[in-house]
Symmetry: C2
Subunit: 232 residues, 2 copies
């Protein structure tokens, strides 16, 4: 069965208590462990992974849809793809210490499977599949609010956003701020007009940009401000 | 706004009444229509399609997970892929008469977009995204129980199942039946043993099969019976 330290850790860190511990156990049972202990008639975590994958996809999609009401579908799709990929899920899995509790066969353990990114990704999905079966989607949302959403809010996936949205995300991490764009002027011949814009956060000017229209100049100013904030 | 015939049809066929008709309208607004009527400031259905895609993925996954408790992950994944593909979603879209109500720009209408499979697929997803936002996932499950699940139960996606499961699915469409496999005998030298099995449904023998073990012979018998039933 699942280690009792893990059960305590889930309760203390995430407020999660499983009703059915056999389903939690299944989520942490790798196929290599099942194969080495055929006499126990165990189930591996692959079916839960199938289910958890879909639960996470909807949970992340719903969050992005509501959080970015002005982001077009193409950008939402790229952002979702960046969040639900192996590299992200495996790091969330480690962050939640799941890697310490997966049961592996000896051969796989020696081959270093415990740190394999795809194994950690599958484990993250299987855990969420188990949580969904045990307690419904609300429990998955609550867990993901602690483990995934803070990374999105910290701007880790904002390469897919436009610079103005990304700046707003980044600047508002620690509370509401006022972001203002001001047109400084325009110059150049009619067919090659250049617009100059500056951006300020709470009246502190943080960047300037130029472009062939006001919108492009604002995007450039936002990118400059964002680069400066991230260096700070 | 959405045609009133469509509102009645949704109510009569599926028992669905939207609280927020603007969200239903958005689901039936193609980007080509928005582009031709910029003065109206409409939204196209692409963000709803993003959301609906994920809602349908979970709804189908949850159904398959519970309905086929013995199907391994690989087969569940292939079956899900067969169900959520363009060809299937576009046919569900037509079955629900969605193609009659999508608002298209004139150019796209003339180019035959109304019957384009990817457009119908996107529309099916957008409708389910709208239904989910308006009434929650329970309403999507209820709709999908009428529009998708009967096709699964009729065995349309059972190429991904093993033959025994597929036979059971097919035979039980019209109520419970008793399927029995009987070992007729075995022959051949020890290293090339052949097993012979027959399968009967409610005591009527429908097929025979052979194989190098009992399980393989049963699968062959099930495939034979299924082929015969589908011809009938």
């Amino acid at each position: 069965m699942v280690a009792s330290e893990f059960i305590s850790e889930l309760r203390q860190r995430y407020g999660i208590e499983f009703n059915d511990l056999t389903i939690l156990d299944e989520a942490f049972t790798h196929s290599s462990y099942v194969n080495e202990h055929r006499e126990l008639g165990l189930k591996d975590n692959e079916r839960l992974e199938f289910l958890g994958d879909a639960v996470l996809e909807l949970t992340v999609s719903d969050y992005l849809y509501r959080k970015y009401p002005d982001l077009p579908e193409g950008k939402l799709t790229r952002m979702r793809a960046a969040i639900v990929q192996t590299r992200s899920f495996s790091s969330f899995s480690k962050e939640a210490h799941f890697d310490q509790y997966i049961k592996l066969g000896k051969g796989e353990e020696q081959a270093g499977a415990r740190t394999r990114l795809t194994l950690l990704e599958d484990l993250f999905e299987a855990f969420n599949g188990a949580l969904y079966l045990d307690q419904g989607r609300g429990a998955v949302i609550k867990f993901v609010e602690q483990v995934i959403f803070p990374h999105i809010e910290a701007g880790e996936f904002s390469a897919e956003m436009d610079h103005k949205t990304a700046l707003q995300e980044f600047a508002q991490q620690d509370g509401d701020v006022q972001i203002t764009y001001r047109l400084l002027g325009e110059d150049g011949p009619a067919h090659e007009r250049q617009f100059h814009v500056e951006v300020a956060i709470d009246d502190v000017v943080l960047g300037q940009g130029q472009g062939k229209n006001k919108k492009a100049a604002e995007q450039a100013a936002a990118a400059a401000a964002l680069a400066r904030l991230k260096q700070a």
